[in-house]
């Protein structure tokens, strides 16, 4: 167990935005909350999943909803802590530690905020290793763990507990409805996990990974080195393509941002990337070049800053890189949940690292 330093939280915000793979929302408000809490003297501790006893109770948290709404409603560290407290009251037992469901984007900071208020440590793990749009797209769902109960809270004081769901898709549907009623944003405490479940099904060390990634970018920018090269080196990634955005096509269907963007390279070569909140498949001349579950990141070619699917626009100079997927998603069951077919593409997953 160790205490997280303030500058590590700054780096986490940068790294988590890259791991958002185009979605997940900005970590900025979470970062501001953490700066305030650290100024007040609060400190957050990080523990590895191996430090958990098998029967430890672990809270699993995330904010659910539209990142755009957060831009106006802001983030309140007390909200996610309240979701955990409501869960504790419902279960009648206390949590030993808290973890995030999603290391990509704004949700990376949620477990830190909960931990700051509750005085329990954060686990160095998540259940996505990146950002994904739906509840069944987690390593816990791949592991067939129970999807319920789930607590949703809003800032007005409304609280809803979904006590049962026949499967993860039903949990997604029911809790999404609640989220929409709350104003398309809700702080949620997901189905609690045991220490054994986290050790077996959690994706380990993603918190330190995001921090390491953030450090690499910050340090490269400070010394005018190429930040993209630094990212590739830090995470054993692969550069796929560099060019200019020449078209973006977006539509909202079933509450998701879907669309495609075309990138023109130096010569006549061009690629297309399809997205559903996050970047899903890269195409070149009709053939897939890369796809989920590997992490497709579109970065500003100059600064290495990640560019989200909501922010991408004509004329931006971008570099597309791919980072390795957590191993659990490369298994047949993992691919069922988050492989290309889970997003409606009838193609086999083929690793760029093969």
């Amino acid at each position: 167990m160790r205490e997280l330093r303030a500058e590590e939280i700054e780096a986490l915000a940068v790294g988590a935005w890259i791991l958002g793979t185009g979605g997940g929302g900005s970590p900025y408000h979470g970062l501001l909350n953490m700066r305030r809490l650290y100024r007040e003297g609060v400190r957050v501790r990080l523990i590895g999943p191996q430090a958990l006893a098998d029967d430890d109770n672990v809270a699993v948290v995330s904010n659910m909803g539209a990142p755009l709404v957060t831009q106006e409603r802001l983030t309140d560290s007390g909200m996610i802590a309240r979701a955990v407290k409501v869960m504790q009251e419902y279960l009648g037992r206390r949590f030993r530690a808290v973890m995030g469901i999603e290391i990509g984007g704004g949700n990376s900071i949620q477990p830190l905020m909960a931990a700051a208020h509750l005085g329990i440590p954060v686990i160095d793990a998540d259940a996505m290793g990146r950002a994904y749009p739906e509840a069944q797209m987690t390593s816990f769902a791949v592991g067939g763990l129970a999807p319920a109960p789930l607590v949703s809270v809003d800032p007005r004081g409304n609280e809803v507990i979904v006590t049962g769901a026949t499967n993860w898709k039903w949990m997604e549907r029911t809790s999404r409805k609640v989220c929409t009623e709350f104003g398309s944003i809700a702080a949620t405490c997901k189905a609690p996990r045991t220490g054994a479940e986290v050790k077996r099904w959690g994706i380990p060390m993603t918190m330190t990974k995001a921090i390491r990634l953030g450090h690499a970018v910050i340090e490269a920018n400070r010394s005018h080195q190429d930040p993209i090269e630094a990212i590739l080196k830090a995470e054993h990634g692969k550069q796929l393509f560099a060019g200019k955005i020449i078209e973006v096509e977006r539509r909202t269907t079933e509450g998701f941002l879907r669309g495609r963007t075309w990138i023109q390279g130096q010569g006549r070569d061009r690629i297309r990337i399809d997205f559903q909140n996050e970047w899903i498949v890269v195409w070149s001349e009709g053939a897939p070049l890369a796809s989920t579950p590997e992490l497709i990141c579109v970065l500003d070619s100059d600064t290495g800053e990640a560019i989200g699917t909501e922010m991408i626009r004509y004329g931006q100079r971008v570099t597309v890189i791919v980072l390795p997927s957590p191993e659990i998603f490369l298994t047949p069951r993992g691919l069922e949940h988050v492989g290309p077919r889970a997003f409606g593409y009838d193609i086999d997953f083929c690793s760029v690292f093969a």
Binding site: G23, H29, L32, N33, R36, G65, A66, P67, L68, V69, Q71, E72, R73, L74, T75, D76, S77, G78, P133, P155, R156, G157, C179, T180, G183, S184, H224, Q225, R250, R251, T252, G255, F256, L257, G259, N277, D300, D302, T303, E305, T309, E310, M311, R313
Partner: protein, 526 residues
């Protein structure tokens, strides 16, 4: 067509007379404390080049006053902040991400009250009217007269901001209210920051605006007056004096646009050294490189579309400590011609050191003959290092770059610099900012979420609204063209929610047109 472009800096007032895009005359005179005198002086000197005033289509003024006020932390008014959105948003109160020294000057207290809206314009909670009235009374008791009001999703539904503004007007005599929906944009903190800055600048803007109007009236020119804005476009002076944040970065924007125009350079670092500040930016394909998303003004995060700039407190009027160890950020500003040693004053400025070193011929060189070579070398070395460090900060790749030096204080820029392949100076470069002002257009912008509309319908509504705003701001409705359109369906929001950003620009409406169609300048309430 003839236009006069004027840049009122903290130190100098620059003016150019442009005929069909060519600089016919350029003058530089000291800025006066009342602003009016300097402008009158400059126009007076330009008039020798005109047959009569009637041929002037417009006088376009840019000023660095607002950015100087924020950077130097002076001439700012202490304000009250009302946020509508409790119990949400309260964890990150107004001023929460401001530099401490600036917050100390401006923050007169915050009131966070219940109310605000959802993304679709429905109320989040009813507005707490009683609490709003109580806040107004407390603000009055604290003797605060400038108030910033920001409500959740007010760019979609301004009702709660308007209601609170009305209560403030009832409770506080002569109150000045800035409502955030007038500044636009989605992102509560960033919009609020802009609103807070605006409220703290309104008093200064009114003083300066009055000075501009008076100068123009006294000069005898009948041309309409415009003020330039951050994006290189202009608004009518009345509009601009209520919304000074829209002009906060206009000085450096004008310099960069003017510098690009005069030099024809496509890719270069631009440094604009004025009397008080030096601004560093990057020209790419002939245009100032825009900041991608978030722009910091004096350390405050905002969402303005403006060039990506680094500003430091270094200019011709920067105060130099007697031992030469410290330069700026304080500047004698327009008092250069009284206070600087070369003008017989008793304050050591960067200009004095440059004159002593033979870099500039200003004032009386004999008055700085006593400065020791060690001090001169030390100061110049420090200036060089400040320029090298910051030119490097705006670079987007390692390696040498061309550096375009403009502005009245550009004599401080050495010909040889680390990381710079060559230093370029252009004719009228000292007045690049005034040239940038003279070539400005009028714009209107919209950034709003539309629901339940087809994409084409949403864009066309946004465009109509933007055109309306542009005409309000002084554009000729016949010349409007669409320069930016961006639509983003919003993930997770039901009802085909579409965020549409539209910007239109047009030429300045001519005097004849304005009087013939009887259009009036609308007064936005602030």
């Amino acid at each position: 067509m003839k236009r006069i472009g004027i840049d009122v800096g903290g130190t100098n007032t620059d003016a150019v007379l442009m005929t069909d895009g060519c600089v016919e005359a350029a003058v530089k005179v000291p800025t006066t404390p009342d602003v009016t005198g300097g402008i009158l002086h400059a126009i007076g000197r330009l008039r020798r080049r005109m047959r009569d005033g009637a041929e002037i289509a417009g006088v376009l003024i840019g000023t660095t006053h607002f950015t100087n006020a924020v950077v130097q932390r002076r001439d700012l008014t202490r304000i009250a902040a009302i946020r509508i959105g409790a119990p949400a948003t309260a964890a990150l109160p107004p001023f929460c991400d401001w530099p401490a020294d600036l917050a100390t000057l401006v923050d007169g207290g915050s009131w966070i009250i219940e109310g605000g809206h959802e993304f679709d314009g429905r109320p989040f909670l009813p507005l707490d009217i009683a609490r709003a009235r109580q806040a107004a009374r407390e603000i009055r008791a604290r003797d605060l007269r400038y108030v910033a009001v920001t409500s959740m999703f007010s760019s979609l539904n301004p009702a709660h901001e308007d209601a609170v503004a009305e209560i403030l007007c009832e409770e506080i005599p002569e109150v000045s209210v800035t409502c955030s929906h007038l500044l636009g944009g989605i992102g509560l903190l960033e919009r609020e920051n802009a609103t807070l800055l605006n409220a703290s600048l309104v008093a200064l803007a009114r003083r300066i605006g009055t000075g501009f109007e008076r100068a123009l009236a006294q000069s005898g020119l009948l041309a309409p007056l415009y003020m330039t804005q951050n994006d290189g476009t202009v608004a009518t002076a009345t509009h601009a004096s209520t919304l000074p944040v829209f002009s906060i970065a206009s000085g450096p924007t004008n310099s960069m646009r003017g510098g690009a125009y005069l030099s024809n350079l496509q890719d270069a670092i631009v440094i604009d050294v004025g009397g008080t500040t030096a601004d560093f930016g990057h020209l790419r394909s002939g245009f100032p490189r825009q900041a991608n998303t978030v722009v910091h003004v004096g350390g405050v995060r905002t969402l303005f579309r403006m060039p990506d700039l680094v500003s430091i407190g270094l200019g011709g009027g920067s105060l130099v400590s007697p031992d030469g160890m410290a330069i700026g950020p304080r500047s004698v500003g327009y008092r250069l011609i009284e206070d600087a040693l070369v003008f017989g004053g008793n304050r050591l400025t960067a200009t004095d050191v440059a004159v002593a070193a033979g870099l500039a011929e200003i004032g009386d060189r004999s008055k700085v003959a006593h400065l020791s070579p060690t001090l001169i070398e030390g100061v110049l070395a420090r200036v060089r290092s400040m320029i090298e460090t910051n030119a490097d900060r705006v670079k987007i790749q390692a390696g040498d770059a061309v550096l375009l030096a403009v502005g009245g204080g550009s004599f401080l820029v050495p010909d040889r610099l680390e990381g710079v392949s060559r230093v370029v100076r252009v004719e009228h470069g000292g007045c690049a900012n005034a040239v940038g002002a003279a070539i400005a257009q009028v714009s209107g912008e919209v950034d709003q979420v539309f629901q339940g509309l087809e994409r084409a319908e949403a864009i066309s509504r946004a465009r109509a609204l933007a055109e309306h705003r542009a005409v309000d701001a002084g554009a000729d409705s016949g010349s409007l063209s669409l320069v930016e359109v961006e639509d983003t369906p919003i993930a997770y929001l039901p009802g085909n929610a579409l965020r549409v950003r539209v910007k239109v620009v047009g030429d300045i409406q001519s005097v004849e047109r304005r009087s013939s169609d009887g259009s009036e300048i609308r007064h936005h309430h602030t």
